[in-house]
């Protein structure tokens, strides 16, 4: 629920409630005042009758009137108590009953006591009340509409800076190093929010930068001790007399150090790509490049009985050579490592992009999961950073990197997004 709607519904409910309550009070007060007015008229009539009786010692002649009826009834005994009461009034014109007000009193004419009943129609009064009620209702309705409209228009404008800040927060990306720009506003609350958000974004960026610098430095610093361990192992291996168990142990340590080294290198490479430190590019004949790489792997493929098919069309792209090598080597390495024996690898290249497909498990992989850092399939012995590296490189060049499971093959597609990047040049159709 939007703040405006929430506010409107609350304010609308209270307004209606207050109006209903005041309406009731209003109705009763007006009705009370007007009844008092009618009673006063009845008083005047009574007095006129008393005056007349005093002067003439006889009851006055009663004329028929549209809104006033006077009855004299001779009664025995005591005088009746003087009182006002609501009653019915028979309108001869309308041939119907209306509500009326009656004053009951008594007068002594000679020796005879008469009861006086003066009844006045309240039609006019009720009409007046109704008029007042409708006018008031109209005013209230107009007022509410105007209020709602003003709320909508003014509040929307007032909230504009807030939405701007919100949009800036949504667009905020740690990697591109741009903080949140301040929004121009005269409203104190938003200005405070703005200042805090801007300051926070700067703080976060700084923290992120220093964290990245820390990771990079840590990886750098680890390289020298790793080099020492590696060289000591190399030296240890030269020691002549050894048994197979010792050899195996050394071999395992060596192997683990190798993994650590690779992991470290991948982390360094990642942070360098993220920091956009690899700017150098050159135009590369991708078709030739892939063929050369496949040749490098030829013996390995033959060893595992994997059949490789290449469907390559000429394509030149402008990219960093080392990064392209990382992409292709990782894709190829994965395609071999996760393949089955006597499996297949299909490489396709055209001017739009290229893809590596390989046979393997028959269960599709979870795309989100495999792109997570340090995610590894249980049988994999890699660093778990290979695909992440590819993804980062692709991101930095505006390529898209996707996984798909097609015709029982695991496919990794890299699309150059040609219209959006000027990286591909001279890609001719065959």
């Amino acid at each position: 629920m939007k703040l405006l709607d929430r506010y409107n519904s609350v304010s609308l409910l209270t307004t209606i409630l207050v109006i209903v309550v005041t309406g009731v009070i209003y109705y009763f007060s007006i009705s009370y005042i007007l009844t008092g007015q009618v009673d006063k008229d009845l008083d005047v009539e009574e007095n006129e009758i008393f005056e007349y009786v005093k002067l003439n010692h006889a009851l006055p002649q009663v004329f028929k009137s549209d809104d006033l009826i006077i009855h004299f009834t001779p009664i025995e005994g005591h005088a009746v108590a003087r009182r006002f009461s609501d009653s019915r009034f028979f309108d001869a014109h309308e041939h119907g009953e209306e509500s009326g007000r009656t004053l009951t009193s008594s007068v002594m004419v000679g020796q005879q006591l008469y009861r006086i009943e003066i009844t006045e129609s309240k039609v006019e009064t009720e009409y007046l009340i109704r008029m007042i009620f409708f006018i008031t209702l109209g005013i209230v309705f107009v007022l509410l509409t105007v209020l709602l409209l003003i709320n909508k228009l003014v509040l929307r404008r007032l909230w504009q800076p807030f939405y701007q800040i919100l949009r800036a927060i949504k667009l905020f990306n740690l990697a591109d190093r741009n903080g949140i720009d301040p929004v121009n506003t005269r409203i104190d609350e938003f200005r405070d929010l703005n200042i805090e958000v801007t300051a926070m974004s700067q703080r976060v960026l700084q923290d992120y930068q220093s964290l990245k610098a820390f990771v990079e430095n840590a990886a750098h610093e680890l390289m020298t001790p790793l080099a020492v361990i590696n060289s000591k192992l190399d030296t240890l291996m030269q020691v002549g007399e050894m048994n197979d168990k010792q050899g195996l142990l050394i071999s395992e340590v060596y192997h683990t150090v190798g993994k650590l080294k690779k992991l470290n290198r991948s982390m360094l490479m990642l942070s360098r790509i993220e920091n956009k430190l690899i700017a150098e590019r050159e135009e590369i004949d991708l078709c030739q490049f892939i063929q050369d790489m496949v040749n490098e792997f030829q013996e390995l493929l033959a060893d595992r009985g994997i059949i490789i098919s290449e469907y390559l069309k000429p394509c030149h792209i402008t990219i960093n050579r080392d990064l392209l090598m990382i992409i292709l080597n990782n894709l190829m390495g994965n395609a071999i490592q996760h393949n089955c024996t006597q499996g297949k690898i299909v490489i396709q290249l055209d001017q739009q992009g290229f893809s590596f497909c390989n046979t393997g498990t028959l269960i599709p992989l979870n795309e989100k999961q495999i792109l997570q850092r340090f995610y590894k399939s249980p049988e994999s012995e890699g660093s778990g950073l290979g695909l992440t590296l590819i993804k980062e490189i692709c991101d930095s060049y505006g390529f898209s990197f996707r996984y798909a499971f097609r015709t029982d093959m695991h496919c990794f597609d890299i699309v150059f997004n040609y219209p959006y990047s000027n990286l591909i040049q001279n890609c001719h159709l065959l």
Partner: protein
């Protein structure tokens, strides 16, 4: 140049553990290996002595290895230079090579790889025009990339040739399987966890050499790696 040539190298490296390992690895086959732990010592040494190859660390406590390289080139000293650095940054690599370094190796590295690179630099720098490596009956023609056993050529694949060169450069040393895999396929590859494929290359190379009448020089050592040796 025959492989038996004794080389003189200087290791400029501030990390003593690594410096000593390199010195031990190189010194064994009768080579002269001097070390310098810092910027000043290194500068003094390169001003006085000449080396076949200088292994130069870029980040030194009191200065940059690149400055040493500049000083060396400013004085037109012909020493070969191999930069070893913990920084895998392209800028450093390019600057180093621009300044006249012969090669660049990133830490951590295998000593066998280092040795192979140094031997390659020394071979390139030697002026006696001999572009052959001779190991007993095996002759490797570096220009033609051709291997002869008792004068008769044998046909090796690209990888087998690279493997043989690597073995010969590290003659008498145990080379780990990791080092071989990285040398042949580069260290970006994540599949070297399974070393069976190295085994088949070595098996083929060995078979071809023995069939041509050469001695059996390639030995497996305790499952750790392989050794190319004549005894």
């Amino acid at each position: 140049m025959s492989f038996e040539t004794i080389v003189k190298i200087l290791v400029v490296e501030d990390e003593p553990g690594l410096r000593d390992s390199i010195r031990d690895y190189f010194a064994e086959s009768g080579n002269v290996c001097e070390t310098a732990g810092g910027y000043e010592t290194a500068l003094q040494k390169i001003n006085v002595y000449r080396y076949d190859c200088i292994l130069l660390d870029i980040t030194l406590p009191n200065g940059s290895g690149l400055d040493i390289l500049e000083a060396l080139k400013a004085n037109h000293h012909p020493d070969g230079v191999l930069i070893i650095s913990a920084k895998n940054s392209l800028d450093d690599r390019l600057r180093g090579l621009d300044l006249g370094a012969d090669d660049y190796l990133t830490k951590p590295f295998h000593l066998s790889e280092l040795k192979a690179r140094v031997m390659a630099i020394v071979r390139r720098k030697s002026f006696n025009g001999n572009r052959e490596i001779i190991f007993h009956e095996i002759t490797i023609d570096l220009l033609a990339k051709q291997v002869n056993v008792f004068g008769a050529p044998i046909k090796l694949t690209k990888k087998e040739y690279a493997l043989l060169l690597y073995f010969v450069a590290n003659k008498g040393k145990v080379i780990s399987k990791n080092a071989i895999a990285e040398h042949l396929w580069g260290d970006e590859i994540d599949i070297s966890d399974n070393f069976d494929f190295i085994y088949s290359h070595i098996k083929n190379l060995r078979k071809k050499l023995i069939e041509a009448g050469s001695g059996d020089y390639i030995q497996s050592t305790y499952g750790m790696g392989y050794k190319f040796s004549d005894h």
